[in-house]
């Protein structure tokens, strides 16, 4: 039972890591922007808009990400649209996380007390000003714990995109492992790298949260 790990494998894994981080950053940003829109649609939209947004959220939260990924990558290919694995990954994961983030944003916005908006309006603020200066600053603070969770989740789920050929951290790990028959060593190291990333993100976000914290605005801690 000897363990072998060659140092030359590390830079290769490093290249995969870069792709993993890129994919995570891209899909979480798209998800945030689109998710906020969906949340607004679910909160304030009229019948059709509300219904469409709700159907979207139900679908993307109720079906596996893996299936969504293949639908985007191979489904669109069937219609003549060929996407790179990275792009398919960004789109599929972006659409997926948008549905989850929509619900987190909606919950956070609803958690801001109604009187806050009334007070803002009573000063003569427009609806937009009320949202921008009173509702959003509070809602964003309230959503941070759930959002951090979602970021970590997305980072971990990027590991499935290797199945459509993306040479991310997981994909490169698989390649090296199967070429050298060193499965335990490689996957253990890969696991440690993901773990480290997760810890880094968690602590970074905890720091952010402590900086923007306001006494009296219900944060989970």
């Amino acid at each position: 039972m000897e363990l072998i790990f060659k140092w030359e494998w590390l830079p290769q894994l490093g290249r995969g890591l870069v792709l993993t981080v890129e994919l995570t950053a891209a899909c979480i940003s798209i998800g945030a922007a689109f998710g906020l829109l969906l949340a607004v649609a679910r909160l304030y939209g009229r019948n059709v808009v509300y219904w469409l947004a709700s159907a979207y959220v139900q679908f993307f939260r109720g079906t596996p990400l893996l299936v969504q990924l293949f639908m985007v990558h191979f489904g669109l290919a069937g219609w003549g649209i060929r996407l790179s694995p990275l792009l398919s990954g960004i789109i599929a994961m972006g659409l997926n996380t948008a549905a989850y983030q929509a619900e987190y944003f909606r919950g956070a916005i609803q958690a801001v007390k109604r009187g806050q908006a009334l007070a803002a309006l009573s000063l003569g603020m427009t609806r937009w000003q009320t949202i921008r200066y009173v509702i959003l600053p509070q809602a964003l603070r309230l959503v941070l714990p759930a959002w951090s969770n979602e970021l970590v989740y997305m980072l971990k789920y990027t590991s499935i995109v290797y199945l459509i050929g993306l040479p991310d951290l997981m994909g490169i790990g698989r390649t090296i492992a199967s070429r050298n028959f060193r499965f335990f060593e490689i996957y253990a190291v890969v696991a440690l790298i993901y773990l480290t990333l997760v810890l880094l993100i968690t602590f970074a976000l905890r720091y952010v949260e402590s900086r923007i914290r306001v006494p009296g605005l219900g944060t989970a801690r």
Partner: protein, 230 residues
């Protein structure tokens, strides 16, 4: 899509359904494992002395920080490297089950703490041992409180069973890939069908858990669900 395509699609459905059965088997296996280990870890974290509780925290961190895919590979291929041969199915149940145990332990821990130390003290004061108190007073309440967040975990792992295809389990997703491989025009439709299967199972599961919650509800003792992925 041509008429032949539609025919192929419809013919593929039974195959998909038999694959779906495998997903359900993985689901029940991993949930059972996750439940048993999860409760254990939660109890250790709440009631054990510091060093042991710290181990439990470490366990949680590990299984919440490592992606499911990596866990699957680690357990299936990693163990094989050490001459421990298990079927992909068993590896999937173990990997996904242990991962779920980390999330479930957090749910149970939260619920146990929500029940509160006072219930434990009251139980001890009438002469129960700690174990009896846990079994007859704390857990019954904690389990009820756990149902809403637990149904989130249920939805989550239901969808994760598709990941087992990556280590070779022939479940519904793998079957869909086979069908797609034979006829690429079927790609979108076949995955849509699989998606709808899961949508149905998700609703069915949530409905069942909702019924469970209503059946065991204690008036005046409720907690709000979160809707988070955990």
């Amino acid at each position: 899509m041509t008429a032949v395509d539609w025919q192929n699609l419809v013919q593929g459905v039974p195959s998909l359904l038999s694959g779906l059965l495998i997903n359900l088997e993985i689901l029940f296996g991993l949930i059972a494992l996750g439940f048993a280990v999860g409760i254990l870890i939660a109890l250790v974290q709440v009631y054990s002395p510091r060093p042991l509780a710290a181990l439990a925290v470490g366990y949680e961190w590990f299984f919440r920080g490592v992606p499911e895919m990596v866990l699957l590979m680690l357990i299936y291929f990693g163990l094989r490297q050490f001459q421990v041969r298990i079927t992909p199915f068993v590896a999937a149940v173990i990997a996904l089950g242990l991962r779920s145990s980390a999330y479930q332990s957090q749910i149970f821990r939260g619920a146990i703490q929500a029940v509160g130390r006072r219930q434990m003290m009251a139980a001890l004061s009438v002469g129960m041992t700690r174990l009896q108190a846990i079994r007859h007073v704390v857990l019954p309440q904690a389990l009820r409180l756990s149902i809403p967040p637990w149904s989130n975990e249920f939805s989550s792992v239901l969808k994760d069973t598709t990941l087992a295809s990556a280590i070779g389990v022939i479940e519904v997703f793998k079957k869909a890939r086979f069908i797609m491989g034979r006829n690429y025009a079927l790609a979108l439709p076949i995955f849509l069908v699989v998606a709808l299967f899961f949508l149905f199972l998700t609703y069915a599961g949530n409905w069942a858990l909702g019924a469970l919650e209503r059946r065991y509800r204690i008036p005046g003792f409720e907690a709000k669900g979160a809707g988070e992925r955990f």
